[in-house]
Amino acid sequence: MTMIVTKELSKTYHDNEVLKGIDLEVRQGEIVVLLGPSGSGKSTLLRCLNGLETLTKGAIEINGVRLEAGMKNRAFKNNLLNIRKQTGMVFQQFNLYPHKTALGNVIESLLIVKKMPRAQAEQLGMKMLERVGLADKRDAYPSKLSGGQQQRVAIARALAMEPDILLFDEPTSALDPELVGEVLDVMRMLAREEGMTMLVVTHEMSFARNVANRVLFMDGGVIVEENDPETFFGQPKTERAQRFLNKINQH
């Protein structure tokens, strides 16, 4: 079953064309890693998929719900909310709500968006914190948590809405090196679960190599190469991808 489709998706900021007609299909349960140099459009593509960026041209379809560039207001808003309920997003800077506890962060949208009774929301919220191994931090405010813990709470917050798709926008890039592992472990656990579709923008090559079903290599607003990870890292087809991998391996 196809979960994500984009058709000639373009995004322009002022005169700068960041995405140049992206055509993409992702099946349910696929783990897709987006690689590429900074400014290649990976994050923008991800943010277009849940409507945090408007589309300049083209269309996306998430689990059958369509969003088109230039769509009329009412229909657009309904579809946008619908899409956001089916996708969870994890941000580079975590973006936890500082005025809410770990549990408060996780259950906020259960209360506000799903109108769930508090007791039920807290029960579900605790289950999510347990999944990321932070049940004991339920009453801690984000400022009292390490970066790794904050990002795991942010993952629990995204999971609580029970999305079909999880979008990760450089989830470990803002972390101290020794905290990267715990976040990647949680992501690996999610990837093993049945049916979760994941799109991950990352610079963690080992994660891409070991966990992804498919690697998309982007540069200059287009998908330059698309391959299974073994082939991509072993014998990249394009010269641009070869250069990228060489540069990374030098470090």
Binding site: M89, F91, Q93, H99, E108, V113, S143, A158
Partner: protein, 214 residues
């Protein structure tokens, strides 16, 4: 100075009116301020423009002129207000403009990622504003709003001009009765100063608490 103590009742009544006008104006000004801040940030073009003009006009004209427009000016259009009502309306509209700037700045100071995180979990932009951005912005806005209130406390002396029996007006009445100036003026100056100092201390305590919170 004896005359001041002898007439404490009238002066305290004046101080009561001063506080009353300041608190009422702050209360209604707060609603105006929030509405105008949101209008400037979220409104469509005509709404944003109207809000900007409001803030610019209020900040660019003397409060005393605003007061006489409400009290004397509106009479031409058949709207006759009591001095106290006119004072509260004029000062609410006045302080609303200043508060809207403090609130707008506070909302803008909340990182965009907060709204994005809320939207990404399915909230509407209004839910994100109400549940995530405004509670955080309130903390940021409290110190400047407190200072605006203390400023307002002193501005209220302007409404003596339309014969509201607040502190300055009470002193003027006593001066007319006893033909001495200084003791009464010094007396009310001290009373203004005590009131501002008390509110400053309260504000400082609140700020200390806020900085400790999360």
């Amino acid at each position: 100075m004896e005359l001041v103590f002898e007439n404490w009742e009238l002066l305290f009544q004046g101080a009561y009116y001063t506080l009353y006008i300041a608190v009422i104006s702050m209360f209604f000004g707060l609603f105006i301020g929030i509405a105008v801040a949101l209008a400037r940030l979220k409104g469509n073009r005509p709404v944003r423009w109207a809000a900007r003009v409001y803030v610019s006009v209020i900040r660019g004209t003397p409060a005393l002129v605003q007061i006489v427009i409400v009290y004397y000016g509106l009479v031409d259009y058949g709207i006759t207000l009591g001095p106290l009502t006119a004072a509260c309306i004029a000062l609410s509209v006045n302080i609303g403009a200043y508060l809207s700037e403090a609130i707008r700045g506070a909302i803008l100071s909340i990182p965009k990622g907060q709204t994005e995180a809320a939207l990404a979990t399915g909230m509407t932009s209004w839910q994100a504003m109400r549940r995530i951005v405004l509670p955080q912005a309130a903390r940021v806005a409290i110190p400047p709003m407190g200072n605006t209130f203390i400023g307002m406390l002193k501005e209220t002396s302007l409404v003596s001009f339309i014969a509201v029996p607040e502190l300055l007006r009470s002193a003027q009445l006593l001066i007319a009765r006893y033909y001495v100036n200084m003791p009464f003026y010094i007396g009310i100056a001290i009373m203004y100063w005590v009131m501002s100092t008390v509110f400053s201390a309260i504000l400082e305590a609140v700020e200390k608490r806020l900085s400790k919170a999360y």
